[in-house]
């Protein structure tokens, strides 16, 4: 099995999908001969030609709007938004159109498409190359939201997203693009959406995380283990639709929960996990749910390492709920 970085695994998934299904096409800003600003689409135009991997005019609304029309009419578009921070001109197309098309036409028209976009901080990208906007999209019925954290999952989840009959927002943790490496199976395989991944087992504290926060939580868990606290780490992988039963089961196993994400806290994904636990399994809980998140401020540049949850902050929360 080859060892790939996360961005290479994305590239491998795109090539795999495009080789097996000629209706799969990939487009966006600078994704053609340049191969994308992160090289996620490296080599695609060369292998599949300009009609299947191409640069578009600089318009996120146009990219997503045309992708919806393609998806309605028999293609399987994979559209790249160069940075998730730039997605908002297309918000209307994603939220009001792609996500609602099946519902508003009783299934006569659907939008099986994938929007790939790098999200999150850690590259000194400041306000507009660092955001984690998953909460906006998880609030949208009809949309699926997927976030891989390993190369193997990046490929398997992207292939599953391309196969999926509904529109999928595929958030790629850009901080991990080249930071993580792992063995990735060759050829076609899918990692089912709406399934959790147990990263680490432990009896004391359950940590829910996704994307670039997974390695941060792993580091914190190692440090906690040195202090005698064993953490169960769950990588949520698909935020919408979430495997809620799996989440509740994992929370019950320890009765102590920490939720970690980069996005701001208020109305963030951690709030949903916390509410879900409070509503359904409060009797199993030994401690209040702790959230470790970005601050309710815009994303800073120079001090981004203070803004983003790090192992220090996660460990602090783990210790807090463990001794509560």
């Amino acid at each position: 099995m080859p060892t790939l970085t996360l961005v290479q695994a994305v590239n491998d998934a795109l090539k795999t999908a495009m080789r097996r299904d000629k209706t799969v096409i990939h487009f966006g800003e600078d994704v053609g001969p340049k191969g994308g600003v992160f090289l996620a689409s490296d080599g695609l135009t060369k292998e599949f030609g300009k009609s299947r991997c191409f640069d578009t005019p600089l318009s996120e609304d146009g990219i997503i709007g045309t992708a919806i029309g393609m998806a309605m009419n028999g293609l399987r578009p994979v559209a790249e938004i160069q940075f998730q921070d730039f997605i908002f001109p297309a918000f209307d197309q994603i939220v009001s159109e792609a996500a609602k098309l099946r519902y508003r036409s009783g299934g006569q028209y659907t939008a099986p498409m994938v929007i790939r976009t790098p999200y999150g901080g850690g590259i000194r990208g400041g306000l507009y190359h660092s955001q984690s906007g998953e909460a906006y999209f998880c609030h949208t019925p009809g949309l699926k939201v997927v976030v891989p954290s390993t190369p193997e999952d990046a490929k398997g989840l992207l292939l599953a997203s391309i196969e999926d009959p509904d529109p999928v927002l595929f958030l790629e943790p850009k901080a991990l693009y080249r930071q993580v490496k792992g063995e990735v199976p060759e050829g076609f395989y899918t990692t089912p959406l709406s399934t959790l991944r147990t990263v680490r087992t432990g009896k004391d504290v359950t940590v829910f995380c996704y994307g670039a926060m997974v390695p941060v939580c792993q580091k914190a868990a190692e440090q906690a283990a040195e202090k005698g606290i064993e953490c169960l780490i769950v990588d949520l992988r698909t935020l919408m639709p979430l495997d809620e039963e799996g989440v509740l089961e994992a929370a019950k196993q320890t009765g102590r929960v920490v939720v970690v994400h980069e996005a701001p806290r208020f109305c963030g994904f951690g709030a949903e996990i916390s509410a879900m636990i409070a509503e359904n399994i409060i009797e199993y809980m030994e401690a209040p749910v702790a959230r470790v998140t970005g601050f309710d401020t815009p994303f800073p540049n120079t001090l981004e390492h203070h803004y983003m949850p790090d192992a220090r902050r996660v460990l602090d929360a783990i210790e807090h709920v463990a001794k509560f």
Partner: protein, 372 residues
């Protein structure tokens, strides 16, 4: 830079100087009957709305020739991305009034199963008349994407996307026009310039000398037609459709017309449209003009016209009877068609709603009236 004067085929008196018919008498009468059907549908829906039997409608009086003339240039294999004032295009291609009326009543046989407001139709047969959404201009780049798919497969089909004068200010108009021109996508952009975007007049919508001229900057032809002249709209459409089918790329057509009613049943146009303007446009009524044209070809008398209109009324009245008697969608319809498969959290919410209904009875119908 100026775009030529509006293309006209049928003069106000019904004469057609220099026109060689490309439609049989039967086809001409089909166009006429479709316009009457739009008018009858409108008249009946207005009464239904005013008497509280449906919640909302969108009047089409005055713009029938745009819709029917444009639709007449399309094949059944082409796709229509309509605005909410375009259902004449669906009727022309054989959508049954009863299937539209199911949407007006939001009943269980509505293709959207009552999830959308009235006049938000969706059909896949006998032609793709793509599900209408209320936000303006969002469907424009979608038409370009669907056209790209046709182009990529080597099909000779085209997409028609239709919008109003206000739509030209939308994000989707810009991105759609730009992408289509860059891709040479087989799309026809039809701007039905009826003078007002709800209440905003054209001089406050754009500083351009026309809407058609916007095409020039995108790198495609722009033409203006007399939108109350069915054959002129058809002629411009035929040229644009042929260009698109043959790989020549998109065209913007501006059809100058006027809506003789409000924006919707919730609108009072007397607040913003000068009466003289309405009176002037009343004299240019597209149906009356087409009748004069038909009469000049011995295809129409007032009696025949009245009988045909009554036949349309009868068909639509029967559609009302059927649609009104069709039950509302089941509670389940709230929870289905969100995704291809119902996910666990929506299934749980649905089950809770069913259980509550079983324990406490159904929710009472709200007094919801759109709008204001």
């Amino acid at each position: 830079m100026t775009i030529a004067e509006p293309l006209q085929v049928i003069a106000q008196d019904g004469s057609v100087p220099g026109y060689t018919p490309d439609l049989s008498n039967e086809q001409l009468l089909h166009c006429y009957r479709t316009m009457l059907s739009v008018r009858a549908f409108d008249d009946i829906c207005m009464k239904l709305q005013r008497s509280g039997r449906i919640g909302f409608s969108i009047p089409n009086r005055g713009v029938e020739a745009c819709q029917v003339g444009a639709a007449s240039a399309l094949e059944k294999t082409d796709w229509i991305f309509p605005s909410y004032r375009d259902f004449g295009m669906a009727l022309y291609h054989g959508v049954k009034p009863v299937d539209m009326m199911h949407n007006m009543f939001g009943n269980d046989r509505d293709s959207a199963r009552g999830r959308q407001m009235p006049v938000h139709f969706s059909f896949v047969e006998p032609i793709h008349f793509v599900s209408i959404s209320s936000p303006i201009g969002t469907h424009i780049p979608q038409a370009v994407g669907a056209a790209y798919a046709m182009q990529q497969r080597g099909e000779k089909h085209v997409c028609l996307t239709s919008f109003g004068d206000g739509g030209t200010s939308s994000l989707g108009f810009h991105s759609g026009m730009n992408f289509a021109a860059v891709w040479k996508a087989p799309v026809v952009f039809l701007c039905q310039n009826n003078g007002y975007a709800i209440s905003c007049p054209s001089e406050e919508q754009t500083a351009s000398e026309s809407y058609a001229i916007k095409a020039v900057a995108y790198g495609m032809p722009g033409v203006i037609v007399d939108g109350n002249d069915l054959l002129a709209v058809r002629k411009a459409m035929l040229e644009a459709v042929a260009r698109a089918r043959n790989g020549g790329g998109p065209t913007l057509i501006e059809a100058k017309t006027f809506r003789m009613g409000g924006h919707s049943t919730s609108d009072d146009p007397t607040r913003y449209v000068p009466k003289e303007l309405v009176d002037a446009w009343a004299k240019k009524d597209p149906v009356a003009r087409f009748e004069r044209f038909l009469a000049s070809r011995k295809l129409w008398t007032p009696e025949q016209g009245a009988a045909l209109y009554e036949a349309c009324v009868a068909e639509i009245t029967a559609a009302v009877t059927e649609a009104e008697a069709t039950p509302a969608p089941a509670l389940e319809s709230i929870f289905s068609d969100v995704y291809a498969t119902i996910p666990q959290h929506i299934r749980r919410q649905g089950q809770a709603a069913f259980d509550l209904a079983a324990r406490k009875g159904d929710a009472s119908t709200g007094g919801g009236k759109f709008p204001l």
